[in-house]
Symmetry: C2
Subunit: 345 residues, 2 copies
């Protein structure tokens, strides 16, 4: 897999190795990103555009089924290329689409959100949802390339950028102290500052995946903050104004940090310090969901097994440990304690 | 991937590395094979049985969707095992199911037909159909093991065995003269004789796949006889008594052999000799479909590109060449010539 900017995309296309090119977009990226992509890039063959509705609901089997047919009807063959232009929904869905059409065609990810840039587009995970169950169906398949361009960040609301920033912070927490320090000195409203963090952040992820591509061991560290985060996200999905993925992960990282005191041996002072820093970016993310419901969702999480809930915790900052079993009582107490602690910050 | 008998399955299960075990069957294998499997094997955890209707129609996205839900509802997790007990439909469908559920769980293939033993179960190709388009959706994913047992052949009608035999012959034609000679000395009504051919036949396939797992070059040789064969199969799928896959491949191998005289440089005498041998096992396979319709299907075949139809041909017996472009006129003439030649045999 290659990582680069639009120039890399141009030079890959110039090699002319694909029989046809398809671009998957949603309404938003079709409106805000596609024109500029078409102006910047000289396509050797005129690409066909596939468009789905924005939002998590498009990551469904039904939409995927329609897209398989669309590729087929538009004459896609094994030598076709699919370019996925969009946020994590598009890169996940398009990655799955490409990795299963005719047993796999080439695809290139062009993530247009910070979240997709730092998380969804690299690492080879593709996925669609089974009902409300996130990424229950998917594959591991690397794209030919991931194309990053700062210009897309300008198309994003600031809340989206703050959401994606949580994954950058996560990479700092699990593996890179200097990245973490840089994160907590960053003004998230400054796109250039944020974009600067991407390279070290992606390096953390790429290094981990190189060691453990199929999530047998080290790759699990990347799930730090995601056990609680995913549960929160699932339960608020149908709210009028649902929480964003990164916002949920930010809360999930705070709860995992607190659980790390008993469960991982993290020093209480270090835990409090880290929670204070995360909270300063996400003071408004205070979930009001029932612990029992959250627990049920966590039990169904594909990362858990045998009816137990496992967390990634910290023994120190940048020293994560995977598969720490936590009881519901312990989790419930941590949720209460976190609420009290944050009120006192 | 390991290849072995029921003892291998028993020893894998005894390692107790899976949290739960699922067995995918169709009505036929549920009736004829499952009881004997359950009697031979001591399962450490009681397996859950999934059953689909027999026949190609179960290799659909709708059925796959139901099976994803079934796995989910029955508590399958990333450490579950899926055992696929059946013919090629079950091993293809079950392989796809396992390779996409939660981004891939372990699976074991237990092919119960000769065709699945020699072709479908090994090589890591999984697939479901998109409408009438065979294996249009799929993945490359190796099973943990393929389990072969001669006893299953006793459950099969003789026509099924003759059909699977075509794939064994194919392996002889493309790579192993002594296997080919043994094939043409075999009495296909004798299950033991046929089962003896499996090992050298699977060796041909395994050797080719080891060199070229993703079908970039040598693996294409395994498609010998399949360009014409698949088209014939598609067009007769809805007949009252449809031709079997291997029967179609037998015809496809005869037409490819004839095309090889002009297209591959195969000596006319060698071609005639080979066609005579194949015909002696499949004298009744005389397709009556329109050439134009067959051509249309071949144009849509995922192995073709840019509106051209490519065949795997022979320059000599056991010396295949891939990607030989054939025109519709040439193909139509070969169909006529083959009919005349076979009448005169």
């Amino acid at each position: 897999m290659q990582l680069g900017d639009l120039q890399l995309l141009q030079s890959l296309l110039a090699e002319n190795r694909w029989s046809s090119v398809f671009i998957l977009t949603d309404e938003n990226t079709n409106k805000h990103c596609l024109t500029s992509l078409m102006m910047c890039i000289d396509f050797p063959v005129n690409p066909e555009i596939l468009e789905v509705e924005p939002g998590e609901n498009s990551k469904s089997i039904e939409i995927c089924h329609q897209l398989w047919w669309a590729l087929n009807d538009l004459g896609a063959d094994r030598n076709s290329l699919l370019i996925n232009l969009g946020g994590g929904m598009i890169t996940d869905l398009g990655g799955f689409l490409a990795s299963t059409f005719q047993r796999g065609i080439d695809f290139i990810q062009i993530p247009t959100t910070l979240l997709a840039m730092t998380d969804a587009a690299i690492g080879g995970k593709t996925g669609i949802n089974l009902g409300n169950l996130k990424n229950q169906i998917g594959t591991f398949q690397n794209p030919v390339a991931v194309i990053l361009d700062q210009a897309w960040l300008e198309t994003l609301p600031s809340r989206e950028i703050r959401s994606g920033f949580a994954e950058v912070v996560k990479h700092g927490i699990i593996a890179d102290n200097s990245l973490l320090k840089a994160c907590f000195e960053t003004d998230v409203s400054n796109q250039e500052e944020v974009f600067q963090l991407l390279e070290p952040s992606l390096k953390v992820k790429a290094d981990i995946i190189a060691i453990d591509p199929f999530e047998k061991k080290e790759r699990k560290f990347l799930n730090f903050g995601h056990t609680g985060g995913h549960a929160l996200e699932s339960l608020t999905l149908n709210d009028e104004d649902p929480l964003l993925h990164g916002e949920c992960v930010a809360w999930g990282m705070m709860i995992a940090t607190l659980l790390s005191i008993d469960g991982g041996g993290l020093e209480a002072e270090a835990a409090k310090e880290l929670i204070r820093s995360i909270d300063s970016y996400y003071p408004d993310i205070q979930p009001e969901v029932e612990i029992e419901k959250m627990w049920e969702v966590m039990l169904r999480d594909k990362k858990n097994r045998n009816g137990k809930v496992n967390f990634v915790l910290l023994s120190k900052v940048s020293k994560p440990i995977a598969n720490v079993e936590i009881s519901m009582e312990h989790f419930a107490k941590a949720c209460d304690d976190l609420r009290v602690m944050r009120e006192e910050l």
